[in-house]
Amino acid sequence: MATVETALQTRPRPQIVAHEARPEPSGWTSWFTTVDHKRIGILYMATAFVFFLVGGVEALLMRTQLGTPENSFLDPATYNSLMTMHGTTMIFLFVVPMMAGFANYFVPLQIGARDMAFPRLNALSYWLFLMGGVVFYASLFYSPPEAGWTMYTPLSSSAYSSGGGVDAWIFLIHLTGISSILGALNFYVTIANMRAPGMGWSRLPLFCWTILTFAILIVLALPTIAAAVTLLLTDRHFGTHFFDPTEGGSPLLWQHLFWFFGHPEVYIMILPAFGIISEVLPVFARKPIFGYKAIVVATVSIAFLSLLVWAHHMFTTPISTVVLSFFFLSSVVIAVPTGVKVFNWIATLWRGTIVMKTPLYFAAGFIAFFTLGGISGVILAIFPLDWQLHDTYFVIAHFHYVLVAGAVNAILAGIYYWFPKITGRMLNDTLGKISFWFTFVGFNATFLVQHSLGMDGMVRRIYEYESSTGWGDLNLISTIGSYILGVGVLITVVNIVRSLKRGAVAGPDPWKGNTLEWFTESPPPPNNFDVVPYVRSVEPMKDIRRQVERDTGSPQRETELTYEEAEPVGA
């Protein structure tokens, strides 16, 4: 009969010669000097969440302006700045760093490592990200950029955007870009070298697989935008003419360079979301993930294809039909691996014993509405249709279905799923579900009608429209929806603040999870694990629970979540 000893084989303890024992730094200043992956992860997530709220307020201001025709709440300059800052914030200061935050906290825990491979580099990544945000938002005090987050030349050239806002944006791209590339190298090295004994590539948790792919995509795509913004900077200040048509430069060059980065960036944002969903679903369906290998293959093929589709953002530019057809075909092909993932997720739920907790709600919301974003994506990839739909609210609706119904739902699922591990306390489940329904209704009210507005002729990035267009009603619905969505997010904020002190105590493994982060205490100690178990499958915690059951004879009821008894009644 096997014993706990053999199941929980320990690694040979590394020999460390300590010359002196310094006391752990404590107090608020220790947050500035920390190199602990968990504290850096918290810094990333908290900062990104603040930027999420800022970007959300910017969105609400824009929606307020657009709620009625011929509104004069915002002037065009303010509107264009808000629009530029909203896009830039949500992409560079919220979704990507939020994913990096989750990865920072959970990749080492999931693979049974003590920390990231390069802890100091990790701290540098965070501070570069924060400085990128500070440099960008400092432009509020002189002249915020107005050329949209895509910064198309010549509009972003010094002739048409003379203020310093575009330069602030360029420095944001550089700082957050270096931050992301350093972080990506760190994740790659950590996952490649520091996995627990027994954790081969086919036992790597799916979240880590997506972070590995995310890291590779960052390394491939971000240097392109770094080069492009450097060319823009020299065009603006040092007399070069890379993008200046009057001197033989080409505005189309900017679009190619930008989208060669910009499309992989979409997958940089959404692949970790796929990872979170692939972690949450099997835990709450109490059933293994369906088609682990298919999901891994789909992840890697999506990443590969994402590097070949950039010109589908340029279907209305002067390009020949052969080229358009290539990018049409390469773009629709992505729907195959993405569809495979959706089918695998639904098959994971199929015949499960689904425990209806908040993370599962957000994960199900993700599948439901990310699918709609995927379908509208196929429609947009068909270039004759894109000639009508390009640069309209249909496109806005499409990518918000991908990034809000997709990435934000996954982030909220991740927050509700991992909050107990990070803080040791549960988020309130009832408040979580209320938050879900508000975001669900608000989101669809905001964005579903925008498909129609786009097809009816409403183009993007206009700060007002005439009442004779007839767009007023749908825009009002959209604006009301955006406030409902805002309330939904706010409820989660309240839940977080409230649960930090008053949440039910979680214990090490409140959900009966599958992966190693649930093996250690909540919150984990600075060294993460005293012993690292030998990994025998993709669900090491399930193996450990079975082992305990065999050894002690006490049944480890798989569908009973342990924390429920601890949650105060009526909380």
Binding site: R286, K287, G339, L349, P384, M455, G457
Partner: protein, 285 residues
């Protein structure tokens, strides 16, 4: 609070309504679900048709996926009495997975095929109709598309600028903002920009095309119904982007010939008067 069946039913009902409205959209609602058309221009009509075909395929996929998802959640959620039920420990099914991969690929093959069936009608300019105006200026077509058949048609140079459109006609006349065109005549637009990128779009008359500085881009339409068609610049071009409106006014070929001749005379007359005034006002004689 569990996912109650009342909520579940509500969600099912809402989805069913959404699906039904997609599938059986009455004419009044069709406008909300498909791109604009109705000026009689073949490109816009064909885009509309292609969109509907794709939408039907998409609706089937959407209803299938959402239906299965909802059914799974409602049917397989843990019930109170199921204290210790362990779910089926299924890890995958190779033939099923190959099946849906091939299935998804086939759906995309269908979409690709119908797209390439409809593409020529959208991209290639149509022949000018029997009642159309006769040629004025060389006939060009979009980048690599064929010239319209026949020698009749009209080419208009569209100079886009912050925040106006300037239309130059073959006879030397020009106009701003409102473009007057003859019906039943293939109109080729020669798009360029003198400052930043703009994008020409009249939704009822087909897709948009960018006017990129340093490049020439071309598009076309052929209006069969007289009337005024509204559109606007579709690419962010600065603070006045929202005000950069464009109108196409389709009139009968006879009316068009009268207008373009009159417009040319008026411009020439105004130029002569301006030259006269310059001579009068100039201090150096």
């Amino acid at each position: 609070m569990p996912f109650t069946s009342r909520r579940g039913l509500l969600a099912v009902a809402l989805l069913a309504v959404a699906a039904a409205s997609l599938l059986f959209a009455p004419a009044a609602l069709a406008d909300y679900l498909t791109p604009e058309s109705g000026g009689g221009s073949r490109n816009a009509e064909d885009i509309d048709t292609l969109f509907k075909w794709v939408l039907y395929v998409a609706a089937v996929v959407f209803v299938g996926v959402e239906g299965t998802l909802l059914y799974s959640i409602l049917r397989f959620r843990k019930r109170k009495r199921q204290r210790d039920a362990v779910a089926a420990q299924i890890r995958g099914n190779t033939s099923l997975e190959i099946g849906w991969t091939v299935g998804a690929a086939l759906v995309l093959v269908v979409i690709t095929v119908v797209t390439f069936i409809k593409l020529p009608g959208i991209k290639n300019p149509e022949r000018t109709g029997p009642g159309g105006a006769t040629a004025g200026g060389p006939l060009f077509a979009t980048i690599d598309q064929p010239n319209p058949p026949g020698d009749k048609g009209l080419t208009i140079d569209v100079n886009s600028q912050q925040y106006l459109w300037r239309y130059a006609y073959p006879n030397g006349a020009y106009a701003y903002t409102t473009m007057i065109v003859p019906t039943h005549t293939t109109v080729i637009l020669n798009l360029f920009s003198q400052d930043v990128i703009h994008s020409w779009w009249i939704p009822k008359l087909g897709g948009k095309m960018d006017a990129t500085p340093g490049y020439r881009n071309k598009t076309w339409f052929k209006v069969t119904k007289e009337g005024t068609y509204r559109g606007r610049c579709a690419e962010l071009c600065g603070r006045g982007h929202a005000e950069m409106l464009a109108y196409v006014k389709a009139v009968s070929p006879t009316e068009y010939r009268e207008w373009v001749g009159r417009q040319k005379r008026l411009i020439e007359q105004a130029n002569r008067e301006a030259a006269q005034q310059r001579r009068t006002l100039s201090p150096i004689q």
